[in-house]
């Protein structure tokens, strides 16, 4: 039962509305490895049923239960034989189809039965409602959507009104901390690329730090955590800055701490 196409070929195909169907509809042929995709393509048993009905040009209002049920079961069986995870709803529908089919085969009491008693009625009602909603969903999706198809205009407004202070709660803080940790983890993976930074860029960094903190102990300029390459580039940057007389490097005596400050900065 693995290949539904074979299966469909083996049994004489259905007659629909009197027309003998000799060929299997192309849609029904499922390459075995495509089953998963097909299963994903359907939103559920109703969707699959609708597909079978519409592709065969069957009248929803007068469903020939036998061929429909058979085709449906072929799909379900094919999916099951491939051990694809099949939503329980598909099996429930299979049982329902079989129940309807068997009811249709039972002889009826001679008394005229009202149309609502047709065992297909409930299925038809559900199929119609689903199809209606499916179409509606497509139409909704075609409406221009803000963000996707149109953008709401909101030009910049300078704010001068009395400043309102931002509200912060403890959870915001925790969130900020979480972002930090996350970024720290990410940057751990990216340090390799950071090593390619130029000497110039590090010169700027050294200068900026000195602008903010006036004097730094030589060692403070270096962050061993960034790796040897960065240390070397930073050292080159410091030497270059000293050569350009932008830095003042002082040491009171041998082995005493070395201090670095901006050359033009006023001494404190």
């Amino acid at each position: 039962m693995s290949d539904p196409a074979q299966l469909a070929l083996a049994t004489p195909f259905a007659r629909l509305y009197g027309e003998p169907l000799i060929e299997i509809p192309r849609d029904l042929y499922i390459p075995p490895d495509a089953l998963e995709i097909i299963l994903e393509a359907f939103e559920g048993p109703l969707d699959l049923l609708l597909y079978l009905i519409r592709k065969e040009n069957l009248d929803v209002l007068d469903i020939p239960m036998a061929p429909l049920t058979r085709q449906y079961l072929e799909y379900v069986e094919a999916m099951r034989s491939k051990n694809l995870e099949l939503a329980a709803e598909y099996l429930v529908m299979a049982a329902m189809l079989l129940a309807i089919k068997s009811r249709l085969l039972l002889p009826r009491p001679p008394a005229a039965t009202p149309i609502e008693d047709d065992p297909r009625a409930e299925l038809v009602r559900r199929l119609l409602e689903y199809e209606r909603m499916k179409k509606a969903a497509q139409e909704l999706d075609e409406l221009p959507q803000v963000g996707r198809d149109v953008i709401a205009v909101s030009v910049w407004v300078e704010r001068t009104v009395a400043e309102r202070l931002p509200e912060v709660n403890a959870q915001d803080l925790a969130e900020a901390w979480r972002t930090l940790l996350h970024r720290a983890r990410l940057s751990a993976h990216h340090r390799v690329s950071r090593e390619e930074l130029s000497v110039r860029e590090h010169m700027r960094g050294v200068l900026r730090r000195l602008q903010e903190r006036r004097v730094l102990e030589f060692g403070e300029l270096f962050d061993p955590a960034l790796g040897v390459a960065v240390l070397v580039v930073t050292l080159l940057a410091v030497l270059e800055l000293a050569r350009e007389a932008l830095l003042e490097i002082t040491q009171s005596e041998s082995f005493a701490p070395i201090y670095v400050k901006l050359a033009h900065a006023e001494s404190h």
Binding site: G18, M65, R108, K134, A136, A137, L140
Partner: protein, 202 residues
Amino acid sequence: MQNPTEAKRILEAALLASPEPASLADLKRLFDDQVGVDTLKNLLAELRGDWEGRAVELVSLASGWRFQTRPEFQSFVQKLQPDKPPRYSRAVMETLAIIAYRQPVTRGDIEDVRGVVVSTQIIQTLENRGWIDVVGHRETPGRPALYATTRIFLDDLGLRSLQELPPLEEIAKTLQLEPAPAPVAPEAANEPAAPDERSAAG
């Protein structure tokens, strides 16, 4: 009060700067309620006319008026947008359609129509977008939440009211079923080749 040109200028600036659609009441406040609703409507109509033929238009939505880009220019405008717009799956859109056309509905109602379980994620996607919310509970066991669409949903889809939703296609109103037990159409029943149909069904 300002002269009409000045008033239109103010209206335009305020609407261009407003991130949300502005209601008539909002717009009246612009002029310290010194402008009547009719005057305001005329000004808005004029303003809308002024923008005709451009890539931005003034539209009237459920919550009010807003300037937005025209869909035809989206391929350009998109290039300067930092965020990628969400694309919703069929499951999400079908759920949305059922809520929009059949509201208020419970999750069970949605499942009945779709024939499959509706995941919490789908509901959350729509809630997070601000398109649906809980408007009450059905007085049945478990008191399931009743979902309905919001104003934001209408605004975001360019609609002024639910009446403007695309009309549902009436596929068929009456069921004209064959007298049982004919499982296939009448022609098929008279067709000599039909018997194997029944045996296949048996």
